[in-house]
Subunit: 175 residues, 2 copies
């Protein structure tokens, strides 16, 4: 049986998950995230979720995810996977390498911290391939306002256009 649940944005996903498990017992949950986030994914997985993927995945993709979970597996996106492996590697081999670490976190955490909530939200959506119009609909604001936020993000992150922003936020390019 397949059920579609829309979580309340106001509350924590993990919290709602816990309720779900308590109410229904042994269910397998796959989370589709509008804007995938590694930290959120990790929390969800340790909360018992069996799959975590981009909500904008193709039908074929989703079928595959469903298949894997149905067979008792766990589904995790490639990028998150890599991240897990890398970070675990680092922890195991105990190589502090502070410089490299700081460099890599400065992209995701440091740079993003310069952005306001709204800007970050818009930035993630854009980096995921959304057009200004789509972002506007998702956020319930005018396309004009989206442009303002996007522009601000470009300045703060020194991105010259949305494509470069996407490359930066997705870790392809450090600059």
């Amino acid at each position: 049986m397949l059920v579609w649940l829309r979580l309340q944005e106001a509350r924590s996903a993990v919290e709602q998950l816990a309720e779900l498990y308590k109410a229904l017992g042994d269910v397998r949950v796959i989370v589709l995230a509008d804007q995938p986030d590694g930290d959120e994914a990790l929390n969800l997985f340790s909360a018992g979720v069996r799959g975590y993927c981009n909500a904008h995945a193709t039908a074929a993709n989703l079928r595959q995810v469903a298949g894997v979970v149905e067979a008792g597996g766990l589904w995790i996106g490639e990028s998150l996977m890599k991240r897990l492996v890398v970070s675990t590697q680092a922890a195991i081999s105990r190589l502090p390498d502070a410089k490299l670490l700081r460099e890599s976190i400065s992209v995701e955490a440091g740079a993003m911290s310069a952005l306001t909530k709204r800007e970050e939200e818009v930035a993630r959506a854009v980096a995921n391939g959304a057009s200004n119009k789509e972002v506007a609909r998702q956020c319930g604001i005018t396309e004009r306002t989206v442009k303002a936020h996007v522009g601000a993000v470009f300045q703060k992150l020194k991105a010259r256009d949305r494509l470069h922003l996407a490359l930066m936020l997705n870790g392809q390019r450090s600059s």
Copy 2:
């Protein structure tokens, strides 16, 4: 194409893997372990392996693993998955992300096969953030021609714009 390789027990698996990659270039490797071991798996994954599972898995299981890897995913057993999540949770205060990833990301192979040389060249440039004008200069052709190629790529890969193309070729999304 599917190839069965039996590694030499005397030498390190990672070492033999490195040779394999050097010799064959862009191949996807799934490792079947007689006695699965978490540490070995981690090393293999950071060496570029796309799947790691028990050699005594069922045929159905193996088919599934193959399917996932073919679709550009990574396969990892459930127990190892849990372990990764747990150990990462512990050391999650700060997260690495970029450096190691950049080298290992070279997904494009499968989908690119439908493209002609020129189209592929243009597609790569676009996915790297180049504007049409820049691509034109790089290739020594007119901006108009670049548009033609870009348009062809969009059709063949079913990308709706250059940003989605970038996401696809950089492995964020397979749609």
